[in-house]
């Protein structure tokens, strides 16, 4: 190599090296390109870094916060599609939305602009069209750390400014990029598939009542979108703006056979044949738990089934939504009532049938008595059939002195139990039963002559006034749907109106979590048609009604409340 060529090589290396050094910033930016999605999910959902320390942040200018209470998911929600609460509009943060310029798209904010009741401050904010270019990795990091968007706008002070390392930032951004990137299954360009779940041991008449209500609503819904589509550009209430987001609803009735431990497998088979976007209620005789496990596994919103045995453990943020906690709630309501009515010390005898409808509330009642009724003496007896139940009633009638209350959980033997009680009235001042025995009691006893027979009742009283009940009755009449089971059918109608509202307000963003989030927010808004005194949810909540009455049968008005609305 000549001296000249050595010199040239030196200069070339020098140039390359200096170029490398001056490009240090670019390499620092590249660090943001690599992130771990699972570690990012931990930050988004729990506010914890991969090394499990809580992420620190400042909100409202100087308020130091950290950890799960201020994790991204709280405001931006599991779908990442954002939320709106208390006059604050929380923007979506999914990858496809962040890494594209914001456009003037009225459809995305339509429901917030026109359908929801909002404060003037909120409406004003919504109408301020703040455009921004697409986020880059750098500008997104700046937004998360400093609260400045790429157009230079400062976020609202309540958006926390997060103190995050480059590594945590890369992880979080990797997760955001993976969030709600493609529509969930069960929906295509024309059809949204829904299932309703029933099992073969339910009362066929009740089952038909539920199914004809659902099918009637589906038919009506499909008719309404066909009507909108037939009118082209005619746009009453802006409907034509959303024609592309309309999907025809198709109902699949999934009928489960045999014992509950085989249901999950049966559901998986149904789901493999036709995935559904959501489960629209249903009617189950038995525990909803196997179905709930299926819903959680497949991440399918399962909306308001008619069940007395919901899955109450780990229900928050799960995928099943319920009206109440069912018989567990009734057991707690009765225990609170007895605690207030009977003078201590109390002696209570509890008889329960050995099936889920008997055992589950009996166990909850036992715990509730131990928790709330101090100094009480509870004797629990489990019976397996009507003969042993008769033996127990005879035993109690022989040794009834000193017993203050008899609590009966008739399980799946409601009719037999009522017949026995009619023939062998217990010589106890207070006898309680759950609401599922009320109808049989009223049918078999022509006179309400036993004031001491009390029923827990987690529904609205017949004398209460709910204007929407009249509207639903009229809807049923006009659609030739006979109302044979008002509670079941009205509950089903409520579920359908929420599903309808939720699907319309997805506005083409067909993500199941987003549907759940819309339903959480909307459950409280004037859709209650009189089945319960109040219905409402909140973020993560899964039981829309939380209390119950204690009632006695009444010949004139059906039932009469002997308690206030009791919320355990």
């Amino acid at each position: 190599m000549t001296p000249q060529s050595r010199l040239s090589t030196f200069f070339l290396l020098f140039i390359i090296t200096t170029s490398y050094i001056s490009g240090e910033n670019a390499i620092a930016d590249d660090k943001l390109l690599i992130g771990d999605v699972e570690a990012g999910r931990l930050i988004y959902m729990q506010g914890h870094s991969a090394s499990n320390y809580p992420i620190q942040a400042i909100t409202s200018q100087d308020v130091k916060v950290s950890g799960s209470g201020f994790a991204c998911v709280n405001c931006h929600r599991p779908s990442g599609m954002g939320s709106s609460e208390g006059g604050k509009y929380v923007l979506p943060v999914t990858g496809p939305i962040l890494f594209a310029p914001r456009e003037l798209n009225r459809n995305r904010i339509f429901s917030k602009l026109f359908h929801e009741i909002r404060s003037p401050e909120f409406v004003t904010r919504m109408r301020q069209a703040r455009m921004r270019p697409a986020y880059t990795l750098d500008t997104l990091a700046t937004a998360i750390r400093d609260g400045i968007d790429p157009a230079g706008y400062s976020f609202d002070p309540i958006m926390p400014r997060y103190d995050m390392s480059d590594g945590d930032m890369a992880n979080l951004i990797a997760y955001l990029k993976s969030l709600s990137i493609k529509h969930d299954v069960g929906i295509d360009s024309k059809t949204a598939h829904f299932a309703t779940i029933i099992n073969d041991s339910t009362d066929p008449v009740a089952r038909d009542a539920v199914l004809r209500t659902i099918q009637g609503y589906f038919d009506r819904f499909n008719l309404s979108i066909a009507n909108d589509r037939s009118k082209g550009n005619f746009s009453p209430n802006y409907h034509s703006d959303f024609l592309e987001t309309y999907r025809e609803w198709k109902l699949h009735v999934w009928t489960l056979h045999g014992p509950p431990d085989t249901w999950k497998e049966q559901l998986m088979r149904f789901y493999e044949i036709q995935p559904v976007f959501a489960v629209a209620g249903g009617l189950i005789n038995g525990s909803w738990s196997p179905v709930a496990q299926f819903c959680d596994k497949e991440r399918i919103p399962c909306l308001f089934p008619n069940t007395e045995l919901p899955k109450t453990a780990d229900a928050e943020n799960a995928y099943s939504f319920y009206f109440t906690r069912g018989l567990e709630l009734e057991a707690e309501v009765l225990s609170i009532y007895l605690e207030k009515q009977l003078s201590p010390p109390q002696r209570i005898v509890q008889i329960s049938f050995a099936d889920p409808y008997g055992e589950i509330p009996a166990n909850v009642f036992t715990k509730a008595v131990n928790r709330w009724i101090s100094g009480s003496q509870l004797e629990s007896v489990s019976v397996s059939n009507t003969a042993t139940f008769i033996e127990e009633i005879n035993r109690i009638n022989t040794h009834h002195r000193g017993i203050d209350a008899l609590v009966i959980w008739p399980g799946e033997h409601v009719s037999d139990v009522i017949t026995v009680l009619q023939k062998l009235p217990p010589k106890i001042d207070v006898v309680t039963m759950p609401s599922n025995a009320l109808e049989a009691w009223r049918k078999q006893r022509t006179q309400a002559d036993y004031e001491h027979f009390l029923f827990s009742y987690p529904y609205e009283l017949p004398t209460a006034y709910h204007p929407r009940a009249y509207m639903v009755h009229a809807w049923m009449r006009s659609n030739h749907i006979e109302v044979t089971h008002p509670t079941l059918q009205f509950q089903t109608y409520y579920m359908l109106t929420l599903l309808d509202y939720g699907m319309r307000n997805l506005r083409g963003d067909f993500y199941r979590d987003y549907l759940s989030e819309i339903i959480e927010g909307e459950a409280e808004s004037n859709l209650n048609n009189g089945t319960h005194p109040t219905l409402g949810l909140g973020p993560g909540q899964r039981f829309a009604s939380k209390g119950g009455y204690v009632v006695v049968p009444d010949t004139k008005i059906g039932i009469r409340s002997v308690s206030k609305w009791i919320i355990p």
Binding site: N25, N526, G540
Partner: protein
Amino acid sequence: MGKKMVANVMFLQKLWCIRLAVILVAAISIILTGSAIASDHASTQEKNRSDTFKKVANTPNSANRYKITNTHYPIPPANFISNKGQHVKIDELLSSPRPVMLQFIYTTCTTICPVLSATFSQAQDRLNKIDENFLLISVSIDPEHDNVQKISDYAKRHNATHNWIFLTGDNDATRKLLKAFDVLYPGSNKMNHQSTIFLRMRPDAPWRRIEGFLSADELIAEFTELITPVKVTY
């Protein structure tokens, strides 16, 4: 011939010198340009950074972020239960001579309430130094869900000290109180509730109604101003 060869060699050497000079100039200019770009980039970053801080500092001032009005609110009789399980008559509690700050929250609220409660939480110690008799009250607007256990857990989450009480009631009592403080939310849906804090010095004094969000410093300042006797000069 020999002179010609020497001349050729000299010419080639000159050519290499020219080449080297060109490379040198190019290299220097690239380095200079590079460092200029880097420096420009750095100064842009610096500029952005200073803009950033400027913009953060330029977030709407207190006058824009929250609104203050002073009003008397007659408190109706209504029963609540505290996070300690004690029964509380709200009209009696609010006739306490202690300086009071009150907010409405619910425990599953995700956007507004955590910030409101975090502000109270951060202010506690400093309020204690200003007037140890202060009383913070958080009332649930979701009474059916927020039982004693839930509000108690919420209190722990926000490190509430003995001067901070959390209340839940029934729907009627809650609605009465919301109506009394003129904070009923539209659509009867708690998701539409607004961020409002109420402060008052004495039972006979008007309530200072603060709508919007204020920082912990601003909350302390409002509280301090409220409890500081007005100096009358003649």
